[in-house]
Symmetry: D2
Subunit: 345 residues, 4 copies
């Protein structure tokens, strides 16, 4: 059955599989202390234009969010996020299980707004009872967001400015960063991100790797530090991979010869084809979003008809008679799959 | 300076002080295993019409909320509360520090709505991804609410029905329960509460005691159990008072000869006098609420004028030029204090 | 029935009760922001010879230990304590519930040894795998210990030296500090303690107060800081008393005219009488300890005989036929009670 | 450089790599809901002789221990383990970070003793203050242990009997289970384990897989249940792999045609060769242990000489002049590597 259900339903780019085969009998030291990890980190620092950045590799998104947020948020504080943020909705309480509240802002197609963030913080500190409340301790945004939308450079800079005015590091969840960086109309480069964010990660699981997220502590200002004994914190969160080179190897491959960007761009290109077709056929796109996630609001007969032939992602019930569904392309979506899908619409 | 800032700014009823003096040199076993605690529990069970109820005494509201919610909420679940609920706003993240998310519903003058609760739960279980989300595990309401409003019996029964349909215990924060039970128009008796809620507490700190909250596990149905080894859980939360009889003594006194209700009613009566005067003088009451908390929306000149002479509670900024302030009466508010206040209005 | 079961089985010194009565109708601001708390803090700073110290009042020992240790221990670290330390044995896992491991050292009649502490830390950092282990993050000792024994000044200084060599604050649990300061042979004054420890508390619950522990951050060196937003951390641990002046009032009274030391000394004096009698009558004192706790190893017939007439504290089974029991005096033990006890021996 | 440092320093068995290549472009549903996981689970249930068992796949050992122990241990309880247990020493406080204390028993070459466990529990419940202490809530043992030693069937049965007498599930960490099952002299089969333990895991990371541990809830008695909503708990611990079929695929391969046992046996056979040589050459084996970990106590000159040519694992300093080092074979150790090592001894 055809599947546009999500962007983590196939293996890895062939280059990664080949590299796995090549290195399979080599002996490596454990926990990421190997040379391939070192090489991958160097390539990421270079791609970020951030020679002082500190790079770490973790396995998956939720554990990365949990480990970073727990490490950068003071004990008296929470993480500010869009109400629709992955950490608020789809991580089974992983943030709270580590002791921190998610402080929510209204979302605008998945994004928070710098002015509303500023207002939130100003109101917090103006409240006579603020010492009895959870402090805003860091800020979490996703690029691309859970709705496939993108922050502009100006928007991210404005958010960072508020963050730093209120002594909060800015953390960017880049589970789908590749798809953000290569989207039509995007103006935020990896170098921009490394300059604006205090910590972010480059998603591998959804962009070409079997698994893996590359965390970058950007080290450009007061809030861009690596938390003390971060390796121990990773271990404590159960997130330290024994065979760490498996992570380094994947990112080393993805950051060689522009592979990461190239495969991500492909996913956007096929998504663009689908968006065009959807518009032509009169479908309702739930959001204007330029990345690999396309949300459409379907009436039930259409949804049922489509789901006979293609797996889509469930987003939410829109109303009694409509559901928001997701068409998700990825680095491995083929032109044939797109043709098949278009024929069904 | 005159103070209507809150309802925890004086000591205790004279009867409690006398009892403290009487028993000061008596030797008691520790941690609430004494006879006075046993007597107080018996009186509370009787007042609740709940002979099988299990009663415990803790020191303060936040620790009581934290200990109960942690004890009754499964590890994969959070507590559903109004966005304005004390546990969500004013407990410095105590619930999250114990590992649980607060799942918020919109509030209606501080109250949640049974239909919206039902919709929340139905939507949750209808979501294809619900296993990746925080389950609704128990429901928290306050009677009176943080805005001084009250649930009717029908409203509480409707909430309880939804709770039990979704296998959630209903927990009622009664930090100001005395003021709820004795308010004009209230139709929820203590017996009703013990029949409807699975666990609730009777607030002492704000109603006549130096400190203390009496937790009642009502034991009337599947969700009305006492969590296993609850004494150990209290201790683990740092909430077990060594000289436990000090708590029993206060509740034993408050539940003798109707003292608790009598002093609470007084606070409502003086609040009613103030409300009448405020209306006559054209003040804007922010909410219609019948208990000891009166919220008024003040312009800045009025606020400044009043605050020269009387301490009020800060609630929130209403807009650029108005602030919501709280006038709070209590069991110890005197007629003279009310006269003085009325003269200032 | 006669009771030497513990030192928290009576109310408070009459001076405290009188003060409660005097202030009962006075209006105070909440959460310890009142003048009596300010006065009590000033007196404690003076008694400690530590004008820069920062003083806070909490209700009970376990919550104080939990709140302080959670606040001063980094997330990658645990608290080092004697295996017999209260935090390791009798707090129902309160430290672990806040996320920290208790790292145990062998005890010597309840005390840890500076050399063994040093060896522990040296071994830790010499271990090739230490980043996978729990770092020693702070050190917890009790004065007096759980066995009634005392650290000498030289012992505490040696421990502090190791602490600071390994970047760990030294925290002294003073639940029974009064009994330590006034014991025969003690050479550690309150001023010494404020100079040596980074944070400690002065126990009220067991020494004259209804409840209450006065936490002193001594502010004399790099490790003697108050954790940021400590008020919020107290609240988050459910440990912030609404009517905070009740705590200030008790410590203000205890630190007026030497009351604290005077009542503590009395408990030691009567304990000395009991120790002398026990020795004369051939009882086995389990430890040589000069404070208000006397441990005796009893055979079963003797234990049963005594327990018909006097409540003793249970310590542990020594072997098949012997039990270690505790005779505990306190500030409120009367000469008549001691006479009665001696007659029973 | 030759390496006998650990058993997680190479990739995976060629069969797994081949399978990865074969399935790389297939589309799978996420989070382990795919057919290969279903097939792997069926094979594991069959190998365990446990048709009702419930099988789950996680990525690594620490996250598996953390997730299981948090899920099966009541909030008032801790996990009982050998002082040398991995959860007590080498997981950076992961258990405590989830709120549970590790309650330690003395170890006997890495093993706990049923009688001592029984004594621990009996003493606990006989303590008059046990409600103030951390309850023994479950029991953790490793097979093989951290010292390479093995429990006999009789020993495990005796431990299980104590566990169930005190209402504790028995959890067996099988990170090196393959090496245990195939060791000379071992009498505990996989079927035995599934009959005796309430939950255990079959280690893949150290036995032929790139990563992965297969958790088996054995479902044979009161304590052998799967915790409610375990998928959500896995997610909350950051341990749910998006591309779950990667785990299923590895275990499906390992449990086809006896591969798991065959490669594990090889590691023991080469370890036996090394042990024989060590004995012949007069080395001191620190423990008598039949599995793939060989501990030897080396004087410094010998250690330095060896470490010029071969990477060994650090265990601990034995004394001023000796260190305990580990020679670790694995499924991928070649005869040539062993020859090289023997030549160095």
């Amino acid at each position: 059955m055809l599947s546009f259900e999500n962007d983590y339903s196939c293996g890895a780019t062939p280059e990664i599989l080949a590299r796995l085969a090549e290195t399979n009998t080599t002996t490596f030291p454990g926990y990421g202390s190997d040379d391939i990890c070192a090489s991958a980190k160097a390539k990421i620092r270079e791609a970020c234009g951030a020679p002082d950045a500190d790079v770490w590799f973790l396995v998956g998104g939720t554990q990365t969010n949990q480990t970073i947020i727990d490490a950068i948020t003071p004990p008296y504080a929470g993480v500010v996020a869009a109400a629709t943020g992955h950490v608020n909705v789809h991580e089974a309480g992983a943030i709270e299980a580590s002791g921190h509240k998610v402080l929510t802002l209204p979302h605008h197609e998945g994004k928070i707004d710098a002015k509303e963030l500023n207002e939130y913080c100003a109101t917090f500190y103006a409240d006579a009872n603020y010492e009895h409340m959870v402090f805003p301790g860091c800020v979490y945004v996703s690029q691309a967001t859970e709705y496939g939308t993108l922050y502009t450079k100006a928007e991210l800079e404005a958010i960072a400015e508020v963050c730093h005015a209120y002594h909060m590091p800015l953390f960017v969840d880049g589970a789908r960063l590749g798809y953000a960086l290569t989207a039509t109309g995007n103006d935020v480069t990896l170098e921009d991100l490394a300059r604006i964010a205090d910590v972010f990660y480059i998603g591998g699981t959804k962009v070409g790797a079997l698994f893996g997220e590359a965390v970058v502590f950007t080290h450009h200002g007061d809030y861009s530090y690596t938390p003390k004994h971060f390796l121990t914190l990773i271990k404590q969160h159960g997130a330290l991979l024994a065979k760490g080179w498996l992570l380094g190897l994947q990112f080393d491959t993805l950051f060689t010869d522009g592979l990461y960007m190239r495969i991500a761009r492909h996913a956007n290109e096929v998504a663009d084809r689908i968006r065009t077709a959807l518009r032509e056929k009169g479908y309702t796109l739930t959001f204007e979003a330029p990345t690999n996630q396309i949300f459409i609001t379907l009436d039930e007969p259409t949804r049922e008809r489509l789901e006979e032939h293609v797996r889509l992602g469930f987003m939410e019930r829109a109303d009694e008679t409509h559901t928001v569904m997701r068409i998700c392309t990825s680095w491995h979506t083929t032109d044939e799959q797109v043709d098949e899908l278009l024929a069904l619409l």
